[in-house]
Structure formats: structure tokens, C-alpha cells
Symmetry: C2
Subunit: 312 residues, 2 copies
């Protein structure tokens, strides 16, 4: 599991930072990639990474501002052109269905895969055996969602040494025991799974917020999250500007991470007014409040290892 930032700027594209898009790479976990937002040029950014558009399984749009949205029709069309055949599910605020349907139909674009569009309301928007995604509305002057992606706990490690001491040989029994089944050996010994499997491995939580002012929903979404991706359009001193434009400062983002007891904070959606030197200053401001703060850059990868939430 890792996050790769494809665009980390605010409002309009700049040479240093493209408009917003974030890839949550779940290649080991489910062989797929989930995309969050798709500003114009997202497919161009992808050309410079190892991401294969056909691997994109789900796309979550936080809000319908152009800098988070306008790259979506091109990305969907190119994925088809490049041989993508597996279904894509697209989640986003009300209105996204009309926008995509008109963009595709007016350009006579016929996708070779099934595109399933779900207009989001608050609550659990997706759940399977391994992952759950919840959405809450933030405060941005337009409907803007934050998404909390919870990886379900994984079965504990098989205590191989202990098991071999009982005389069980590696094979089908190992698998049964690891999966929680009790097993009776040929000599009648009962092997209780719970004695030979470590505690469950805690899943990771990734919280990716759309643009927002400081708000309670952000804290709630980020509660005990492993990684919180939060916009920081403005520097710490610009809280008046942030309020006026329904955005956040570095300090507000750090306060949210702190209140939510997040493990890590990644700042993104950085205004083009800040050059790379000032970018470093931005993250320092956040660190004064929340030590584990990082600054996103276009193409930067943040690994999210299980060890982050399963400290030994």
C-alpha cells in the first residue's frame, strides 16, 4: 500500500505542481489502484509513472471544482483506448453523472469497459471483505467529501515454530490453522487455531479529504487514521484568506491531525504562490504542532507499511 501524488497544486496548473490527483496503490492488497480526484492533465502525469490506467479500479472525486475534475473524461477515454476492459466504479458528488455522460456523449466516446457511476451521500459508500470506504461532507462552499478508507484487520501470523514442535508438517493443515480452523491430528491431538496464530494484524486507515475549511467532519474522518491527506492551500499566517476561500492553512491541517490522533499528515493542494523553498517552510509550520507532517510533491510516493499500525 502506498500513496503516489500526481498533482499537488491549487486552483490552476503550474510548472511545479499540477492540479489535484492522488493514487492509492493497492497492488499487493488487491492488484489495483484507487484514484482520488482527477484534475486536468492527470493522464499526462500518469505517463511519467509506473501506473497502468487499466489497473484503476475505483475513482473517488471529492468535489466538482474544475481543478479536481476536468481530467476525468480524458482519463476514462484513454483507459479504454489503451485496452482497459475491467469495470471502473466512479464515486463523486451529485452532478458527476451528468457531467461525465455529457462529456462522453458529446465527444462520441464509447468506453470498452463498464463504467459504474455512484453519486455519493454521507456514510459507508463501499465495503467488501478487505476494505471499507466512508464519506462525510466537509466545508468548502460546494459539496466536498472526505473519504476514509479502512483496511480490515488481517489474520495474525501463523506461529510456525510452535506448530512444528507439535509435529504438524507444513501443508494443508497449516493453511486451515492460519485461517482460524481447529484441526485434529491423526494421533487424536486437537490443535486449537487460536493457540498457534498471533493476534490479528491491524489494518491501515487512509483519510483523503477534499478541499475544506477547518471542520469537525475532518477530525471525525481522520480519527486514529494511519495517514491523513489534508489540503494546505495557505501558510499558517493566512487564516483570514483561508476562511474567505473555504480552504485551510498548514496550522489548521496540523491541528486537525493532532485532534484526530492521526499517525501521519501529508499536506497537499499547495498554492502556486509558494515556491519550493517556501514549501519547506510550510511543512515546518505544521511540524511545530504535529511532528509527523510531510509535504506532498508531484510524483512523490509515500509507502504505508503495516508496521505503521502494528508496532512491535
Amino acid at each position: 500500500m502506498e500513496l503516489q501524488f500526481l498533482g499537488t497544486g491549487a486552483g490552476i496548473p503550474a510548472k511545479l505542481r499540477n492540479v489535484t490527483s492522488i493514487a492509492l496503490k493497492l497492488l499487493e492488497e488487491r492488484g489495483s489502484i484507487w484514484l482520488f480526484d482527477a484534475g486536468e492533465g492527470t493522464q499526462h502525469q500518469i505517463l511519467h509513472t509506473s501506473i497502468k490506467p487499466k489497473r484503476i479500479e475505483k475513482i473517488f472525486i471529492t468535489h466538482l471544482h474544475g481543478d479536481h475534475l476536468y481530467g476525468l473524461p480524458g482519463l476514462l477515454a484513454s483507459r479504454s483506448f489503451q485496452g482497459g476492459e475491467a469495470q471502473v466504479t466512479l464515486y463523486g458528488p451529485k452532478g458527476i453523472k451528468e457531467y461525465i455522460e455529457i462529456s462522453l456523449s458529446i465527444s462520441q466516446t464509447y468506453l470498452k469497459y463498464d463504467l459504474h457511476i455512484e453519486e455519493v451521500t454521507e456514510g459507508t459508500i463501499f465495503e467488501d471483505d478487505a476494505f471499507k470506504v466512508e464519506a462525510l461532507m466537509l466545508e468548502h462552499g460546494i459539496v466536498s467529501y472526505g473519504y476514509r478508507i479502512t483496511e480490515k484487520d488481517l489474520p495474525g501470523k501463523l506461529l510456525v515454530d510452535k506448530l512444528q514442535q507439535t509435529g504438524v508438517k507444513p501443508g494443508p493443515e497449516f493453511k486451515k490453522i492460519k485461517n482460524g480452523e481447529d484441526v485434529i491430528l491423526e494421533d487424536g491431538t486437537l490443535i486449537q487455531s487460536s493457540d498457534f496464530v498471533g493476534p490479528p494484524i491491524k489494518g491501515r486507515i487512509v483519510t483523503i479529504l477534499g478541499d475544506t475549511k477547518e471542520c469537525e467532519a475532518a477530525i471525525k474522518l481522520a480519527e486514529n487514521t494511519t495517514v491523513l491527506v489534508h489540503e494546505a492551500t495557505f501558510a499558517g499566517g493566512e487564516s483570514a484568506l483561508a476562511k474567505e476561500y473555504f480552504h485551510s492553512t498548514t496550522i489548521q491541517a496540523a491541528n486537525t491531525a493532532k485532534k484526530a490522533k492521526a499517525e501521519q499528515l501529508i499536506l497537499t493542494h499547495i498554492s502556486a504562490r509558494y515556491d519550493s523553498l517556501q514549501g519547506n517552510q510550510l511543512v515546518e509550520e505544521a511540524k511545530e504542532i504535529f511532528m509527523e507532517s510531510y509535504l506532498a510533491e508531484d510524483f512523490k510516493v509515500f509507502p504505508i507499511p503495516l508496521s505503521l499500525v502494528n508496532r512491535e
Copy 2:
């Protein structure tokens, strides 16, 4: 007057060539830029040029395929964000108005300038004292226009030496004579403008075609044109593919330029199947039929001097 290519690829963006957009720079002639097509990432390409979006006066969309269109909402929005205040007129096939209105309204984008949208039909679509633009439909399986931009003839040069020999001094009289007015000197001498002004300077013609198969309308639009911009999605040997996909080969483009008696041909909309080496081969194929053939590259500038049509 010059052409600058912002995107010269076909269908989907590639590292070497972005999707279609072409700037006709009329900075000397009218202090403005006219844009033809706006594939996704056009505003990103502009960031790497000297073009200022606020200078864009008119945008002509040839057809509504995504690779010619999907960069338009972002470009229009960013132009506003960057302080563009002068009106923009947008020309394109029927459907463009709905697409732009929905893209802007769904993203709550409010332009700070007047955007005037004209859905094009065949004929003269714009005319003022200096320029005329005509449109004809091509053959591309979707409504696709070619645009012929005609610069009106300019007044001839004032024959300064000859005029000074008559005793007229540089000043207001010079201007009147240059503008075609006859002037009576203090000593009663009649100075006939036509005796002291050279022949009118011929204006230039630029023909920019949307995607198309070989067709009569292309030849008609390109008749005696100074520069013909023609798609060449495929190499000369691929006429079956070109026909199937409603595109042209290098050889078909060159034949059109030849039949139309164009001065120059610029090939663009090059499939990503051809690398830069093969690109050189493409233009060689065209040159065998039409000597003055050139290959467009992203960011390449083609000057169109008056001397091209006013040979001495």
C-alpha cells in the same frame, strides 16, 4: 503572424506529442491570439510558451472529439483566474455550447470575462476590416470543420522617395496619401495618391483543417492558401487504416495541398505509433508529392511572413 503548435499528437497524449491545439499568433496584426482546438493539457503546454491566455481572443474548435476538446473548460477557467477580462468568442460544432455550459456550471466556475459561444454552420463565420474566417464541413464520421482564415489585402507601400521629389514633406500629408486620399499642395499641385502608393500588399491565407479523410471540401478550403495545416495520422502506406478511421495519410494530405495550389503544408495529428525518426520519414513521403511540406512538433513555431505571398 505565426503558427505555434501546442499539441501535435493523435487520439491520446503521449510524452512526445500532446493532443491537438494550435495557436495562430496575430500579435502584430491585432494584438491577439486565435486558438484552434484545445485538447486536454493545452493550458499546461501554454505554460511552456510566451503565450498569455488573456491575449486569446477567439477559439475555434474543429470537432468535438475529446482529444480536440477536453482542455477547453480548464483553459477558459484559468484564463479568468489569471486576470483575463477581454471577451472571448468560441466557435465550434453544435453541442459545444451545452458542453461548456455544463462543465462550467457543474464546477461552479464563474468567468470574469464575457464568453460568447457561436455554433458554426458552413460559410463565413467571422469578418471584420482585416480578417475573414470561413468554415466548411470535412469528412470525419462526426461533424468536423476546416477553417480558412483570410487576411484582407493591406494598403501598398508609400513611395517615399518619389513623393519627396515633388517637395511634399513627411507629415500629415504622407498619411493621407498612403490611405488613398489625393492631396492639393499649397502651390496648387495635385498629388494623386495612386501615383505614390505601390500596389496593395496581398494578405495571407491560413487553412486549418479538423480531422478528415481526403475530401473535396479540404481542397476548396485550401485553395491558394499560404499555409495548409492538415492532419496526417498515418503514413503513406496506411490508406486502408486512414479510410476506416476517417483520417488521412501523409500522401493524401500532400495531394490535397498540391491540388489546392497551397504555398506550404504542415502535417500534424501524428499517431503515437511513429517515433521521431519515423516522423522524418512521414514528411519525406509528403515532400515527394508536395515539396513545401513540413512536420509539426509540439512548441514548434512557423512564421508566416508577408513575403510568402508578395514575392518580389
